[in-house]
Structure formats: C-alpha cells, structure tokens
Amino acid sequence: MSSYYGRPVIKEPVWQPEIPWYFFTGGLAGASSVLSLVARLRGNEPLARRSLYVAAAADLVSPVLLISDLGRPERFLNMFRVFKVTSPMSVGSWILGISGGASATAALLEATGRLKVVKYAAEAVSALTGGPLAVYTGTLVADTAVPVWHEARHELPFLFGSGAVASAGAAAAVAVPREHAGPARRLAVGGTIVENVVMQAMEKRLGMLGEPYHQEEAGTYAKLAKACSLGGAALIGAAGRRSRFAAVAGGALLLAGEAALRWSVFKAGFQSARDPKYTVAPQRERLGYGPSSATETNV
C-alpha cells in the first residue's frame, strides 16, 4: 500500500494521561450513582451511602482531570458556552456537570444529615445522569476519524458501560461491609463477564483494524486488563462473601483492570492513527478498490 513517506493520514489525538484516567473515574462515578440510588430504594443503606460517597469522590476528581488536560485550562468554562448535540464532548460536559453537581450535593447532605428532600432529589438527578455518564466517553472517542475507535462505535459505549458497572461493584465491595455488599459483588462479577464478552465482539468486528489491541502499549494494557479484571472478579465471586480480605484484594485488582482497559482503548487509538494503513486500506475497500494500485512512491 502506498503512502506519503509512511506518514499518518490523520493526526494522533493530543489527549494526555488525564483522559484515560477520566474514562475510569467518570465511569466509576456514573455507575456508582445508579448503584447508590437502587440500593437506597431496596433499603440497603450501607451500600447506598458508601456508593454515593464513591460517586461523589469520582465526580469531583473527574473535572480536575479534564481541566488539567486542556490546552487552555483557564478557559474550561467555555465548555458551557453552548450545548451542541453534534459534539459528544459538549453533551458529556453538561452530563458531568449536572451529575457531578448532584452527587456532590447529595453526598454533602448525606454526611451532614440535612435537607432530606433536597438530598433525594439530588440523588435522583445524579442516578438519572449516571448511566449516560458511564457510557458517553465511548461514544466520544468513537466520534472521531480514528479507525479503531470509529469502527467500534456501537461496542465502545457497552464496553465502557459494563466496565463502569464492574468498577462500581468493585469499589463498593471494597468499601461496604461484606454482609451488605451482595449486590456489589454480583455487579462486579457480572460487569466483568459482560465487558470481556463485549471486548471479544469488538475485536471480531474490527478485524484487521483491531490489531492495535495486540500490539505495543495497547496490547500490554489489554492483557493486563483481562488478567486483572477476570482475576479480581473471580476472587470477589469465590471468596468475597466470606472473606473481607478477598473482597478488598479482588476489588482492588478489578479496579486496576478497569483502569488498564481504558488505557488500552486510549493507546489503541493512538496506534491506529499513527499507521496510515488503518486509515487508507478500509477506505480503499469501501471504494471497491484492491490494495493500492498506485505507482510505487517514496524512492
């Protein structure tokens, strides 16, 4: 296949390490908000309270990460100049702003025991926006010209969503006494299984475009993600009910796996953008051409 001196056709993203960490904290926050409200409605107060605190903490870290990544951090408020439905980042900023504000308010009122009605309202808002918060980052990266992301546009929100659910379960399994953490353990195990299935489906769909998930840094993170998430889920599932140690160790391992998964997706995007073949070959195929018939260049 010919290219211009092997140079990339598209630009690599300019996002820094804050971004994959935000994918992790945003997912954790969103799914924990949902978990908290459902636990509240089912009368599991310890789980509801701790998950709310996890959600609020992750929601507070998230904007710090995002602002720190900006080229002009002092202009972060420009994110709220407009609401643009064509930009998942605009939509996501509003979701995070609303969800984060609501969960922080709810957590504060929970801790101080004041304004019950306001607290319930804030919890409801945070839970309603929690689902979108957990998945939108998948859509955000898919809405680019990066082949490994764009072609996985239907899998990525499910991958990030299931990963978010698993991490919320894992965090609650760590934070909540084990007699109250049954749903959290089931969530951790179930989320991990779904996530690994979605990952397989995504790689199958990507075909040649999925190569980055087996190469360089993305490949390393993908292996790490799989080992840690499955290992952590197995530990939680097998022994989390009886042993506090197993719940904490399994939860920590699973959380590490979830962070690694975001890093893998993040790095795969860079690798996919860097090599012109991932951009050119599928486009030629789309046009009905074979491998480039162009005169060999770059003597």
């Binding site: 290219s3 211009y4 001196y5 140079r7 990339p8 056709v9 598209i10 630009k11 300019v14 996002w15 969103g30 799914a31 949902v34 978990l35 459902v38 089912r42 009368g43 789980l47 602002i67 080229g71 002009r72 951090p73 002092e74 972060f76 420009n78 100049r81 643009k84 064509t86 930009s87 998942p88 980042m89 929690g130 998945v135 939108y136 859509t139 680019t144 010209a145 546009r153 239907h154 929100p157 299931s162 978010a164 659910v165 919320a168 109250h180 049954g182 089931r186 989320g191 779904v194 995007g269 953008a273 951009t279 486009q283 030629r284 480039s292 018939s293 005169t295 060999e296 260049t297 003597v299």
Partner: protein
C-alpha cells in the same frame, strides 16, 4: 449551509489547487506564514525529496508535498491545505463553538474561544488541525491552571481577514503558476471540470479531481484538488467521511448502553438487597 446568515451570507468561496502546474516553489507556504503570522516551529532536513515541512499542522497551513516516481519518471508536487469541508467534522465536534462556519462557507477557529480540548484534532479525516505546543505569547491569565505552551488549535482560515477586505488569500496571491486558484466554489468546479477534460484529452495518466463531488463523505470540499495519482500517494485519505455522519446511530447505541447500565444494576439486586 449559510442560511443562518440571512442577508449577510456571501457566495461560498474556496480553492481549486491544480497540482498539474505546481512547481514546488513553496511561495504559498511562505506567504501563508507571513500573512497569518504563523510561527516558526523548527528547521529540519527530512531527506524526503524537497519536503521539509512534512505535514499540515498548527504551524503549517499550506504544505507542499514532493513525490519522486520512477515509472513513469516524474516528480509530483502538490500544495495541501485545509479542505473547508461542507460537512466539517472538526466544527461538529467542537464543544465550545470556537470552530464556526463563516459567511463565506469556510471553517475557522476563533482563537479567543478555543480552550484546547483537542477534540477536533482526531476528528478531522485529513489530519489538518493540531494543537500548538510553542510557548504562549500572551501573559498567563491566572497563577494556577495556566500552561506554558499556546495550547490552542490552529489551522488555515482561508484568510478570513483578507476575504473580508475583498482580497484573495495569501497563498493564492503568491502562487506564480495559478496552481492555487481562489474564487466562488461553483466557478472553480466548472473550471476544474474543463481542466480535467483537457488533461484527459491529452492522455495525462492518473489525472483526477479530488473533493469536487458534493456527494462524497464530507459533502464536497471547499478547497478541492486536481491530482495526478491516487490520493494516498499524496498522504490524503481516498474516501474521507465526516465522523458525525454516524452520530444518530452512535447516540442510539449509547442510549441503549446507558439503559443497560441501569438494568445491570437492577439485576444485581435480584435475589436480595444485601
């Protein structure tokens, strides 16, 4: 496209870059840099023919590609630029509204609004935009939350300021062979069709228009090209598609996934809440 401008809308302006008459003088690169005060970003010898600029980016808004071919023996040159797409991915994904469509139908970054989120960079199917990593010129706004580098995204403005003054863009003005032609897009398309017809009648192998078709994946380029080989030879994508074309189905998937998150949490409480 320009309906929202009402009576202020102008004719859609653009470039037709006819690479068959490009002589690789790089006057366009220089004129662009001078007029737009685009800073110097390092001087290197790449060893890649006469190309020492390598690619479009924050500090290169015109880039002349040089391709040495042996069969047939020829030297291709082409001045690349922002395509000012009809359906511009960069503009669609920009969360601040910094990127906007001008009354001339061109796509411009408002530097006083851009907060350097970087979303447009991988959204462009041509790799046109990039973040400027050179030191920032204006004093830091705050003692915290400020970076040393410029940090904003820059690209060709199709000389928006010159257009407003009734002038043609600097690169077109400087081009000595009229390889870069500026004008109303409709006229340029007609001119390009005639030029292609002429070249084909003279048996110029590989002559083709790139980005002229309003039915392509980005709705046609505002700045299109006549190329003498396949686009990828010049480092251009053969079938660019605006990423947001798939956005409705992507939001559908995201909505279902968000619902699945809630359903998953509810399912975890089946069989007991503790």
């Amino acid at each position: 496209m320009l309906d929202s401008y009402g009576p202020e809308a102008k004719e859609r302006m653009g470039f037709f870059t006819d690479t068959s008459v490009c002589i690789g003088c790089k006057a366009c690169e220089v004129a662009c840099k001078e007029w737009n005060l685009v800073p110097e970003d390092g001087l290197v010898w790449t060893g890649e023919s006469y190309d020492n600029t390598s690619e479009l980016g924050a500090n290169t808004w015109r880039h002349v590609a040089f391709i040495e071919q042996s069969d047939p023996l020829r030297w291709l040159m082409s001045s690349d630029v922002c395509k000012h797409c009809t359906h511009a991915g960069c503009l669609d994904v920009c969360p601040t509204g910094s990127l906007f469509r001008t009354e001339y139908g061109t796509v411009v970054v408002q530097q006083d609004i851009c907060n350097g989120c970087g979303y447009c960079v991988p959204a462009c199917p041509f790799g046109v935009l990039d973040k400027r990593h050179l030191p920032r010129q204006d004093p830091p706004a705050l003692p915290v939350l400020t970076k040393e580098e410029d940090g904003r995204v820059w690209k060709c403005t199709l000389c928006y300021d010159r257009l407003k003054g009734g002038h043609e863009p600097a690169c077109a003005k400087a081009c000595p062979t009229d390889s870069i032609q500026f004008g109303p897009l409709d006229e340029l398309r007609e001119r390009a069709d005639k030029r292609l017809e002429k070249l084909q009648a003279e048996n110029w192998n590989g002559a083709r228009l790139y980005g002229r078709d309003p039915g392509d994946g980005v709705g046609g380029f505002g700045a299109f090209f006549l190329l003498l080989d396949e686009p990828e030879v010049y480092g251009l994508p053969p079938d660019p598609v605006v990423t947001t074309r798939d956005l409705p189905s992507m939001y559908r998937s995201a909505a279902i996934a968000a619902g699945a998150v809630v359903a998953g949490v509810l399912a975890a409480f089946v069989g007991g809440s503790t």
